[in-house]
C-alpha cells in the first residue's frame, strides 16, 4: 500500500461519522443532484454527478462501515481500495466542483453532498493528491501569508494610495477598536476599491475600526484545497491578530471563502470558540443602514440583478441583507429566475484558483450567462470578489456587455454627502 493511499484512507476514516453513515445508507443514486449541478447541466458529462464525486469516501464506507462491507470482509470477499480510487477523483473534486452546495439543497433524502465532497478534498489534499497550482498557492499562503504572495508592504502601499485618494486616514493596528476589517487577496490585488469603500462608509457611519498589520489577509487557501490543518493555521493568524488588538468583532470581507472559513468553519478548524464575533460586511452594512447610520442618495438607473455568492447566501444565510441594501439605491432591480438559496454558481468558487480547470470553468459559466441574459440586466451586482473575478472573466470571454459591481462599492458610491466638519 502506497503512502499516499494509506494517508488518504486514514484521513477518510477519520471523517466517517454518524452523518456520513446516514448519508450513504440513504443515497439511492437517483441522480437528482446531477440536475442541480452546473458542471453536469453544462457539460452533460455524467462523471460530474455530485454524488459520484464523493465516491472515494463512499467506497471506503461501503467497504468498512456498511453492513454489507462488514459481511463481505468477514467472509474474505472485500475488494480493497487502490490509489487510483483516490487519484482518479482528483480532477472531479478539484476541477468539477465549486462547492456551491446546490446539490445539498435538492437531495430528496437529504444528503449533504457538498459537505462530503469537502471531506474527499480534505483527504486528497492530506494525501498530497491535489492540483499543483492549488498546492503552490496554499504553500504561499502558509509561507508568505497570502496565496497571491501579497505581503504587508503591498498592503501598506495600497493604504497610502487609498488615503491619498479619499483623504481619509486608514486606521492600522488600533487597539480596542470595535471592528477589525480583513481583506481578501483579490481585494488587495484587483479591487482596491473595496478598502476605499470601507473607509468611506465607516467614516460616514462613524464606525470605530482598524486593519491589522499581522492579520490583514482573510483568504483561506486551506479551505479551498480542502486541507483543514492549513485552514486552521490561517484562521489562527486572524484569531491572534484580533485578540492582540482586542477587537469585539471581526469583519469578513465580501469573499465567500473567507466568510466560510472565519464565520463557520474557523472555530472548528482550530478547535476552540472565538472570543470575538465574526460578521460579514453585508451583515454589518445592513445593520448600519437599518439603524439609520448609513444614508444613501441617488439610484442606479440601469437594470441591475444580483448574483448570490453560494458561500454567503446558500451556505451562509445572508439572503435578505443584500436585497435590503440594494433596494434604496437600485431603480430597476430584477431577480434572476433561480436566486437566493437556489442560485446557480458562476463557475468559480473552489475552482477559481485552479488554472487547470480554466476551460471547464468557462463552460460552467454558460449557465450564469443564460441566467443573466434572461433578466436583461446591464450590470450584475455581487458580494464576493471571487465570484466577481470569475464572472468578469466569463463576461469577457463571451464578449457580453455586462458590468460587474461589488455591493460594498455601490453603497460607498451612493453615500449621502455630509456637511463638512461633521
Amino acid at each position: 500500500m502506497s503512502e499516499k493511499l494509506e494517508k488518504g484512507l486514514e484521513v477518510l476514516r477519520s471523517e466517517v461519522d454518524g452523518k456520513v453513515k446516514s448519508f450513504f445508507s440513504s443515497c439511492v443514486n437517483c441522480g437528482i443532484c446531477a440536475e442541480s449541478c452546473l458542471f453536469y447541466t453544462e457539460t452533460l458529462d455524467p462523471r460530474y454527478t455530485p454524488i459520484y464525486k464523493t465516491e472515494p469516501l463512499r467506497k471506503l464506507w461501503r467497504n468498512e462501515y456498511s453492513l454489507w462491507g462488514k459481511f463481505t470482509s468477514a467472509i474474505g470477499f472485500a475488494k480493497p481500495m487502490t490509489e487510483a480510487d483516490l487519484s482518479d477523483w482528483e480532477e472531479l473534486v478539484y476541477d468539477g466542483c465549486s462547492m456551491c452546495g446546490r446539490c445539498s439543497m435538492v437531495c430528496p433524502v437529504g444528503v449533504d453532498i457538498a459537505g462530503m465532497i469537502f471531506k474527499v478534498k480534505h483527504a486528497l489534499s492530506k494525501a498530497g493528491i491535489s492540483p499543483e497550482g492549488l498546492v503552490d498557492a496554499t504553500q504561499r499562503a502558509v509561507d508568505i501569508g497570502s496565496p497571491m504572495g501579497i505581503t504587508l508592504k503591498t498592503v501598506q502601499a495600497m493604504i497610502k494610495h487609498v488615503e491619498a485618494d479619499t483623504g481619509l486616514k486608514i486606521p492600522v493596528d488600533v487597539e480596542g477598536a470595535d471592528y477589525l476589517a480583513l481583506l481578501s487577496s483579490n481585494e488587495i490585488a484587483l479591487y482596491p476599491e473595496y478598502l476605499e469603500s470601507l473607509a468611506k462608509i465607516f467614516d460616514h457611519a462613524g464606525v470605530s475600526w482598524t486593519l491589522s498589520s499581522e492579520a490583514f489577509e482573510a483568504t483561506n487557501s486551506g479551505l479551498q484545497i480542502g486541507n483543514k490543518t492549513i485552514a486552521g493555521q490561517l484562521v489562527e493568524r486572524v484569531v491572534a491578530g484580533a485578540e492582540k488588538l482586542k477587537v469585539k468583532t471581526v469583519i469578513s470581507p465580501e469573499c465567500g471563502h473567507a466568510y466560510t472559513a472565519l464565520r463557520w468553519e474557523g472555530p472548528n478548524f482550530i478547535g476552540k470558540a472565538f472570543s470575538f464575533k465574526v460578521v460579514h460586511i453585508l451583515e454589518l452594512l445592513d445593520e448600519l443602514q437599518a439603524a439609520g447610520r448609513i444614508k444613501t442618495s441617488g439610484k442606479e438607473a440601469e437594470r441591475l440583478t444580483f448574483h448570490d455568492p453560494c458561500s454567503i447566501v446558500r451556505r451562509g444565510g445572508i439572503d435578505a441583507q443584500p436585497r435590503n441594501l440594494l433596494q434604496p439605491i437600485a431603480e430597476d432591480f430584477v431577480e434572476m429566475a433561480d436566486h437566493g438559496n437556489m442560485n446557480w454558481c458562476g463557475g468559480g468558487g473552489g475552482v477559481s484558483t485552479n488554472e487547470r480547470a480554466e476551460q471547464l470553468k468557462l463552460t460552467a459559466f454558460n449557465r450564469k450567462k443564460s441566467q443573466i441574459e434572461e433578466t436583461g440586466a446591464a450590470a450584475v451586482v455581487t458580494a464576493c470578489s471571487n465570484c466577481r473575478m470569475v464572472m468578469e472573466e466569463g463576461v469577457e470571454t463571451n464578449e457580453m456587455d455586462i458590468e460587474l459591481l461589488g455591493l460594498t462599492e455601490m453603497i460607498a458610491a451612493h453615500l449621502e454627502d455630509r456637511p463638512a466638519g461633521q
Binding site: K19, S26, I32, T49, L67, F71, N341, M342
Partner: protein, 213 residues
C-alpha cells in the same frame, strides 16, 4: 416441507435479520460521536432539522421542470407501495395474525389493485430512468439494481398470487418477501429509515447557518 420452511424458520430468520440489521444501522448512525460545532449559530438547528425532514418531500420550485417525471414516478411508486403494503386486505390480515395481533380497516380490492398499478408504473419508470439517463447509469451500483429487482419481484409475485387460492403462489410471494427482508439492511433499501436522520442532519447544518434548506 418447503412450505414449513418458508412459513416457519425462514420467516423468523428474515424478520430477525431485518430488525436487527436496521436497528444496528440506526444505532451506528445515531450513537456515533459527532464533534460539536464551535461556531456561533445564526438560526435554530433543531427546528430546521424537523422542518427539513418534511420540506424535502417536495422538490424546489427551481428544480421542478428538470426532475418532474422522477418525482411523479417516485410518488406513484412509494405511495402505491405503502398503500398496498399496509392497507391491502391480505396484508392487514397477515400482519394481524402473524405479527401484531391487531388489525385495521383494509382498503377495498379495487383500491388495492390501483395502488399496485401505481407502484408498478412508478417502479418501471424509475428503473428505466436509471438505465436511460447517463448520470444515473453511471452512479448506479449492483446494489441499486438488486434492490429494485427484489422489490419488483416481491410486487410481481404478490400480483401473481392475487387470487389467494394457490398455496404455491402464496409461498412464492412470501419467500421473495423474506429474501427482500434479509437483503434490506445490507442495501440502499435502508433509505426507507435513514432518510429521516439524513434530512435532519442536513436541515440542522443549514439551520445553524440561518438557511432555509
Amino acid at each position: 416441507m418447503i412450505e414449513n420452511l418458508i412459513d416457519g424458520p425462514l420467516w423468523y430468520l428474515s424478520l430477525a435479520v431485518f430488525s436487527l440489521g436496521v436497528l444496528w444501522q440506526l444505532a451506528a448512525i445515531l450513537f456515533a460521536s459527532r464533534k460539536p460545532d464551535l461556531s456561533v449559530a445564526r438560526g435554530s438547528a433543531g427546528s430546521s432539522a424537523i422542518k427539513t425532514v418534511f420540506s424535502r418531500f417536495l422538490p424546489h420550485r427551481e428544480m421542478r421542470a428538470r426532475i418532474g417525471i422522477q418525482y411523479i414516478a417516485g410518488y406513484l411508486f412509494h405511495l402505491g407501495l405503502f398503500a398496498l403494503l399496509f392497507f391491502a386486505a391480505p396484508h392487514v390480515l397477515f400482519l394481524e395474525e402473524n405479527l401484531l395481533g391487531f388489525g385495521w380497516t383494509p382498503m377495498p380490492h379495487w383500491a388495492f389493485i390501483v395502488s399496485a398499478q401505481a407502484a408498478f408504473l412508478g417502479l418501471i419508470i424509475l428503473w428505466l430512468r436509471r438505465l436511460m439517463n447517463p448520470a444515473t447509469r453511471l452512479i448506479s451500483t449492483r446494489d441499486d439494481h438488486i434492490a429494485a429487482l427484489l422489490t419488483f419481484v416481491v410486487m410481481l409475485t404478490g400480483c401473481l398470487a392475487l387470487l389467494e387460492e394457490f398455496t404455491a403462489l402464496r409461498l412464492l410471494h412470501r419467500f421473495t418477501v423474506e429474501l427482500w427482508l434479509i437483503y434490506f439492511p445490507f442495501s440502499t433499501l435502508m433509505h426507507a429509515f435513514t432518510f429521516v436522520p439524513s434530512r435532519a442532519f442536513t436541515g440542522a447544518w443549514f439551520g445553524r447557518r440561518g438557511v432555509d434548506a
